[in-house]
C-alpha cells in the first residue's frame, strides 16, 4: 500500500518526464537547417532554455513547499517524486539546449553548477532509498534514545561491578569507560571511527571495539582462583561485549545521520549559486548578445 517516491501514484512523474523528454527531443531534432547548428539561440533553443529555467525554478521550489505546512497543493511525497524525475530530465533538457557548447563564461559556470546540483541530487536520492533499510538493520527495532539510556545504565553497572574486585581492575574498567570518547570530531563521526582507549599500567592503549578489555578479561578468567573474582570478571566480559555492540550501533547511527545531512550541504548552496548564475546567464544573453 505504501510505495516509495519512484513508484508514487503509479509512476505518474516518470510518465510525465518521458512525455516531456519526447517533446524536447522532437524540438531539438527539428532544428534542421544549414544556416546554424542547433544552439540556444534558435527558437527551439529558447523554448528548451525557458523550459529548463522553469524546471530549475520548480525544483528549487521544493525547499519552499517542504516548509509550507498549511499548503494543500499536492502532498510532499508527490512533490518529491516530481522533483526526482524532473531532476533526471533536467540535464537532458539543458544539454539539448546548449548542444554541448561550453567555454570560459558565465553560461558554462551555470552549466557546471547545475551538474553539481544534479549529481549530488542523485546521491541524495540513492540515500533516501537505501538509508532507511540500513538504519533499520542497524537499530533492529530499538529507538536511539533507549540505546543511549541502556549504554549509560550498562556503564554504571560495570563501574559498580569492578569496584567490588581488585583496585587495579576497578581502575582499568573506569579508564575504559571514561576513555570511550563519545564526543568525536566531525571527521571521526563521519567515518564512524572508534577511538576508544584504555589505561593499562599508566600507559594509554588502544581499545577499539572494546577488544583490549575483552581480551584482557578473557585471559584473566582462567588465571583467577577465587570464585568471587571469577564471577566479577565473567560479568564484566558479558558487559563489555554488550558494550561493543551498543557502541557500534550508536556510532553507525551517528554516521548515517551525518551522511543524511551532509549531501544537503552540497545540494542546497549549489542550488542557490546555480540560480544566481542562471540569472546572470539569462540577463547576459538578453542584454549582451
Amino acid at each position: 500500500m505504501q510505495v516509495n517516491i519512484l513508484q508514487f501514484s503509479k509512476r505518474r512523474y516518470l510518465k510525465l518526464s518521458l512525455v516531456l523528454l519526447g517533446i524536447c527531443m522532437t524540438l531539438y531534432l527539428s532544428q534542421t537547417g544549414v544556416d546554424q547548428p542547433p544552439n540556444g539561440g534558435t527558437w527551439q533553443g529558447y523554448v528548451l532554455g525557458s523550459l529548463g529555467a522553469f524546471v530549475i525554478g520548480l525544483l528549487a521550489w521544493q525547499g519552499v513547499r517542504k516548509r509550507s505546512y498549511h499548503s494543500t497543493l499536492g502532498t510532499l511525497q508527490g512533490w518529491t517524486s516530481m522533483h526526482v524525475y524532473l531532476g533526471f530530465l533536467l540535464p537532458v533538457i539543458v544539454v539539448l539546449h546548449t548542444n554541448g557548447q561550453v567555454g570560459f563564461n558565465v553560461h558554462t559556470v551555470a552549466f557546471c553548477l547545475m551538474f553539481v546540483v544534479i549529481l549530488s541530487g542523485f546521491y541524495g536520492m540513492y540515500l533516501m532509498l537505501v538509508m532507511p533499510r540500513l538504519s533499520q538493520q542497524n537499530l533492529a527495532n530499538e529507538q536511539v534514545v533507549d540505546l543511549r539510556l541502556a549504554l549509560s545504565a550498562l556503564d554504571e553497572s560495570l563501574i559498580t561491578l569492578a569496584s567490588q574486585g581488585q583496585q587495579s581492575l576497578g581502575e582499568l574498567v573506569n579508564s575504559a569507560i571514561l576513555l570511550t570518547e563519545t564526543k568525536q570530531s566531525f571527521l571521526n563521526r563521519l567515518l564512524a571511527r572508534d577511538t576508544a582507549k584504555v589505561q593499562i599500567d599508566s600507559q594509554l592503549a588502544d581499545n577499539k571495539n572494546q577488544q583490549t578489555m575483552i581480551n584482557y578479561l578473557a585471559t584473566q578468567i582462567p588465571d583467577s582462583v577465587k570464585q568471587k573474582e571469577v564471577n566479577i570478571l565473567h560479568q564484566l566480559l558479558t558487559g563489555f561485549s554488550k558494550r561493543q555492540i551498543l557502541l557500534h550501533t550508536l556510532r553507525k547511527d551517528t554516521q548515517y545521520n551525518i551522511i543524511k545531512k551532509l549531501w544537503l550541504t552540497i545540494h542546497i548552496p549549489f542550488t542557490v549559486s546555480l540560480i544566481v548564475a542562471l540569472i546572470g546567464h539569462v540577463v547576459s544573453v538578453f542584454f549582451y548578445w
Binding site: Q2, S68, Q77, N141, E142, Q143
Partner: protein, 821 residues
C-alpha cells in the same frame, strides 16, 4: 466567634468541610446570623484542603464560564495562592464561625437535632447539617500523640525542591510514598518506613525504582521493613531535629529527623457518609448519594453539596452553598441557573414558565421520570434543545449558546457513518431513523445510543421532522447519568442491544417473542488479554461485539497467530454455528471489550426468522475464512497484526503508522505538526514501538471509546462526526485526560505565541518544533486532533517527503498488512 471550644455546642446549621461549597454555605449562613447560628467544622488546620494540596502556583480556572456566581464569597480564576488567600480574608471579614482540627467520627440523629461527635470527643449539636466534604478523602493519620499537620509532620509533599540537606522519614509503601522518597533522596537523607516486608501495592515502575535506590549504596535512601511508629517527639525549635521512635523486628529504634512525611492513603468518604444513614444510588464506586431538588438526602435535615453530590466544579459548588442555606431557612429562591433554563427554552413554540416546561418534559419521557429533579435539571442545562421549523424568518435569527437551537425541518441530525458524541431524546414531533429500512420514532423515545455506547459510527441516519423538539445531550453528561442511575442505565442498554440485534439479524419475529429473547440476552465484559473462548471448545454461543476489539487466534503449525480482528457490530464465533459445532480459533480481547452472548438456540431463532439474512451471514463467514487463512499462512502478516493489536491499534479509529523502510528520519512530520499547531508538536517520532517495518510513533489514536473523555470536568474533549477527538478552549489544564490516556498521547504544556515565518525558516534555519514546555502560566492539555481544523487532512502525512507516514483506521489494517504486495 472563631475557634469556639466547648464540650457541647448547639447550632441551627452545621456545615462540614471548608472547601468552596462549605465556605459559601457558611458565608450565607453568616448573613443570617441575627436569627440563625452556624458552625463550620473543618478536619484540618487550614481551609480547603483539596485546593490547598494543589501544586504550588497552580492556575485554577472558573468554569463553566456561562454560569453566574451567586455567593457571599468571591471567586475568579487565579493561582491557588491567590484564591486561598482571598477566601481566608473573606471568611475572617464575614466572621465565619470555623472550628479547625474538627474531624467527624459519627453523626447520630435524635428527633430534635443531630449530634456530631468529633475526634477529640466533643459533641456538636445541630438542627441541620450541610455535608460539603468533597471526594478526596481524609489522609490516614499515623495515630500517635503529636500527630497532625505541622512543620514536622506532613501528609503531602507539594515541592520536593523545598528540602535539601535534611533528614526526612517517609512513612508508607504505596506509590505516593515511593514517589516522594525518590524525589527527596537526591538532596536529602531519606528513610522509608514500611509496615510490611515488601512494597506490594506499588506500580511496577515505582517498585523497580525504589528497590534499585535502596540497594544502591550511593543513594541516600534506606528502608525499614515490618516497622511501625511507636511515638513522636516534636523538635524543640523550628529547624531542629525531632525524633521518631519506631517498633522494628529487632526492637525499638530512634531516628532523628527534620521532617516526617506520612503517605498512608486516604479514607474515601463513602463509608463515612453511609454511616450517617445516607443512601447512595447503587454499589458502583462512582455512585452518587440520592438527593432531592434542594440537596437534601434521604436523612431529613442532612444536605449534601459540592463534589460529594456530583458537582466537582468550584463555581457550582459555591452556588449550591448559597442555595442550600436558603432552602434550609425555607426561603423560596429561584435557582442560580434559572436564567440558563429560560434561555434553553427561549425559542420553543409556547409561552410557559421555564420551571413548568422542565416539569412537563420530565413527565413526557418515560426514562426521565426515573431521574431525580436535580439530575434532570443538570441534563437540560448541559444539553442542546433542538427545535425544527419550516419558518424561515425564525431560522434566520442568530443563536447563541444556551438558547434553543433552531434547525430546518426534515434535516439530518446525524448521518450513517458519522461518529456521534450526542444522545438524543425526542420530546415532541417525530424523527425518522433510516438504515436499510426506516423507523418512525414517537415522542418519549430516544436514539443515537449506539455511537455513545460502542464508539463506532452510526448505523443509520436520523432525520428530524417538522416542528419537532429533540434534546441532544453530550456524551459525558449521559455517561455520568448512566453510571449514577441504574434504571436509566438498563433502559438505554436494552435499547442499544435491541437495535444492535436488529441491524445484524433483521429478525422477523413476533414482537413479544423478540422482546423476550432480547430480555434474556446477557453481556460479558472482558479486559484486554482475556480469552472469550478457546479453540476446539464446543460452540455453545455466538458473540456480538458491543464495543472494543476481539482478536481471532489460529494455530499455525504449533505457533499461535492472530488472523483477524472483530469490532463493534460484528459477530464472533459464528463459524461454530454452521456445520461442525466447534470453535475453529480462539477469541481474545485485544482491548477492553464488551460482547453480547447469544446462545445457540437463540441464534438459530433469530437467523431462521429471516432466511434472506442467512445468505448475508454465510457470505460474511466465507469472507472471514479467506482472510484468516491468508493471514495465518503468512507468518509475517500475522506477526504484524499481533504487534499492532498489542500496541492498542485495535481500539484506534485514526492511528499514525510509519513504514520504516521509507522513513529517512527527517522529522518533517513533527515540524509540520508543530507549525500547524501553535508551535508544539503533538507527535513524537523519536519514541514509540517498532517491529520489523512498522513504527508506531507517539501520537493520539482517536480511540473508539476515548479514554481521555472519561473524566474531563468541563467537557472540553469532543469527537466530531468524522471521528477525530480534539480538545477545545474549555480546557482548564487539570490533567485528568493525560493521566487516563494509556498511550501517553497527551502532554500538558504551553503553546508558542509567535512562530517563525516561512522565509526565516528557509533562509536562517529558524526552528519552531518543540517538545519542551515552559513551566510558567496556564498549562493546557495538548494532543493530536487529526488536523480536523485545517484543510487537507493530517499535516504529518502531507509533509512526509517519502510517503512513510500514513494514518489508518483499523478497518484498513488487513489491507495495509499486505504492504509489500
Amino acid at each position: 466567634m472563631a475557634n469556639v471550644h466547648g464540650s457541647t455546642d448547639s447550632f441551627d446549621i452545621a456545615i462540614i468541610g471548608s472547601g468552596p461549597a462549605g465556605l459559601s454555605a457558611a458565608a450565607r449562613a453568616a448573613y443570617y446570623q441575627s436569627n440563625t447560628s452556624h458552625i463550620l467544622l473543618e478536619a484540618f488546620s487550614s481551609q480547603s484542603k483539596t485546593i490547598h494540596d494543589y501544586q504550588k502556583r497552580k492556575f485554577v480556572m472558573a468554569e463553566p464560564g456561562f454560569l453566574n456566581l451567586r455567593s457571599e464569597m468571591s471567586f475568579t480564576a487565579g493561582t491557588r495562592e491567590q484564591i486561598l488567600e482571598k477566601w481566608l480574608s473573606e471568611s475572617e471579614h464575614l466572621s465565619l464561625n470555623i472550628r479547625y482540627n474538627a474531624s467527624i467520627i459519627s453523626i447520630d440523629s435524635t428527633p430534635d437535632e443531630f449530634a456530631i461527635t468529633l475526634s477529640d470527643g466533643d459533641i456538636v449539636n445541630a438542627k441541620n447539617i450541610v455535608l460539603a466534604i468533597g471526594c478526596q478523602g481524609n489522609p490516614r493519620q499515623i495515630g500517635v500523640e503529636h500527630d497532625g499537620n505541622s512543620d514536622f509532620i506532613r501528609y503531602t509533599l507539594s515541592d520536593p525542591a523545598d528540602f535539601s540537606d535534611k533528614v526526612i522519614v517517609v512513612i508508607g509503601a504505596g506509590d505516593a510514598a515511593i514517589e516522594n522518597a525518590m524525589a527527596l533522596c537526591a538532596e536529602n537523607q531519606v528513610y522509608i518506613i514500611n509496615r510490611k516486608n515488601e512494597f506490594s501495592r506499588a506500580k511496577e515502575g515505582n517498585l523497580n525504582q525504589i528497590l534499585g535506590a535502596i540497594n544502591d549504596d550511593s543513594v541516600s535512601l534506606s528502608s525499614l521493613y515490618t516497622t511501625t511508629v511507636a511515638a513522636i517527639e516534636l523538635p524543640d525549635a523550628p529547624g531542629a531535629l525531632g525524633q521518631l521512635i519506631l517498633d522494628t523486628p529487632t526492637g525499638q529504634k530512634v531516628i532523628e529527623c527534620h521532617h516526617v512525611i506520612a503517605r498512608l492513603g486516604a479514607i474515601a468518604p463513602r463509608a463515612l457518609v453511609e454511616s450517617f444513614g445516607v443512601n447512595f444510588a447503587n454499589a458502583n464506586a462512582d455512585a452518587l448519594p440520592e438527593l432531592d431538588a434542594q440537596y437534601q438526602s434521604n436523612v431529613p435535615g442532612l444536605y449534601i453539596i459540592g463534589a460529594l453530590g456530583g458537582f466537582p466544579l468550584i463555581k457550582q459548588a459555591m452556588n449550591q452553598g448559597y442555595d442550600v442555606i436558603e432552602h434550609i431557612l425555607g426561603n423560596e429562591i429561584q435557582a442560580a441557573d434559572y436564567p440558563l433554563l429560560q434561555g434553553q427554552f427561549s425559542r420553543l413554540p409556547y409561552v410557559m414558565d421555564a420551571e413548568a416546561i422542565l416539569t412537563l418534559y420530565k413527565k413526557r419521557v418515560p426514562m426521565f421520570k426515573k431521574m431525580s429533579m436535580l439530575a434532570f435539571r443538570e441534563l437540560i442545562i448541559e444539553s442542546e434543545i433542538v427545535r425544527s421549523t419550516a419558518d424561515n424568518t425564525l431560522l434566520s435569527t442568530s443563536t447563541s449558546r444556551h438558547e434553543t437551537t433552531l434547525v430546518p425541518s426534515d434535516t439530518f441530525l446525524y448521518e450513517k457513518g458519522e461518529y456521534g458524541g450526542m444522545f438524543y431524546t425526542l420530546i415532541e414531533g417525530n424523527v425518522a431513523l433510516s438504515g436499510e429500512e426506516t423507523t418512525q420514532l414517537k415522542a418519549g423515545q430516544f436514539f443515537g445510543e449506539n455511537s455513545l455506547l460502542s464508539g463506532h459510527p452510526h448505523y443509520n441516519s436520523a432525520t428530524i421532522g417538522d416542528e419537532s423538539i429533540v434534546i441532544a445531550t453530550p456524551r459525558r453528561i449521559m455517561l455520568k447519568l448512566m453510571m449514577s442511575n441504574e434504571v436509566i442505565n438498563q433502559g438505554i442498554d436494552r435499547m442499544f442491544v435491541a437495535r444492535l440485534i436488529d441491524s445484524v439479524f433483521k429478525p422477523e419475529l413476533p414482537a413479544q417473542q423478540l422482546d423476550q429473547l432480547i430480555d434474556s440476552l446477557s453481556s460479558k465484559s472482558l479486559n484486554a488479554g482475556q480469552t472469550l473462548y478457546e479453540r476446539d471448545a464446543h460452540g455453545d454461543a455466538v458473540y456480538l461485539v458491543r464495543s472494543g476489539n476481539i482478536s481471532l487466534v489460529n494455530n499455525n503449525d504449533g505457533h499461535n497467530v492472530i488472523s483477524a480482528q472483530r469490532s463493534a457490530g460484528e459477530l464472533v464465533g459464528q463459524i461454530a454455528m454452521m456445520g461442525n459445532p466447534i470453535y475453529q480459533d480462539s477469541a481474545i480481547a485485544a482491548v477492553k471489550s464488551s460482547v453480547l452472548v447469544i446462545a445457540r438456540s437463540d441464534f438459530f431463532t433469530l437467523v431462521s426468522s429471516n432466511p434472506q439474512k442467512i445468505q448475508t451471514l454465510q457470505g460474511d463467514v466465507s469472507q472471514l475464512l479467506k482472510q484468516q487463512s491468508l493471514i495465518a499462512a503468512s507468518g509475517q502478516d500475522s506477526h504484524r497484526l499481533a504487534f499492532l493489536l498489542e500496541q492498542g491499534i485495535g481500539e484506534a479509529t485514526n492511528a499514525m503508522l510509519i513504514k520504516q523502510s521509507l522513513c529517512i528520519g527527517c522529522d518533517n512530520c513533527e515540524t509540520a505538526c508543530a507549525s500547524t499547531h501553535q508551535g508544539v508538536s503533538r507527535l513524537n517520532r523519536q519514541i514509540g514501538a517498532i517491529s520489523g517495518d512498522i513504527h508506531i510513533p507517539n501520537a493520539c489514536q482517536h480511540c473508539q471509546e476515548p479514554h481521555c473523555m472519561k473524566d474531563c470536568p468541563t467537557n472540553a474533549i469532543n469527537r466530531n462526526i468524522d471521528g477525530q477527538v480534539s480538545i477545545d478552549d474549555k480546557c482548564i489544564g487539570c490533567g485528568n485526560c493525560a493521566s487516563n490516556c494509556p498511550y501517553n498521547a497527551i502532554t500538558m504544556g504551553n503553546v508558542v505565541e509567535k512562530q517563525a515565518g516561512l522565509w526565516s525558516r528557509l533562509l536562517w534555519g529558524a526552528k519552531d518544533v518543540t517538545h519542551a514546555h515552559s513551566n510558567e502560566g496556564q498549562k493546557k492539555a495538548l494532543k493530536c486532533d487529526a488536523c480536523s481544523s485545517i484543510n487537507g487532512g493530517p499535516a504529518c502525512v502531507r509533509a512526509c517527503p517519502t510517503g512513510a507516514a500514513v494514518r489508518v483506521n483499523p478497518d484498513q489494517l488487513i489491507s495495509m498488512l499486505r504492504m509489500d504486495s
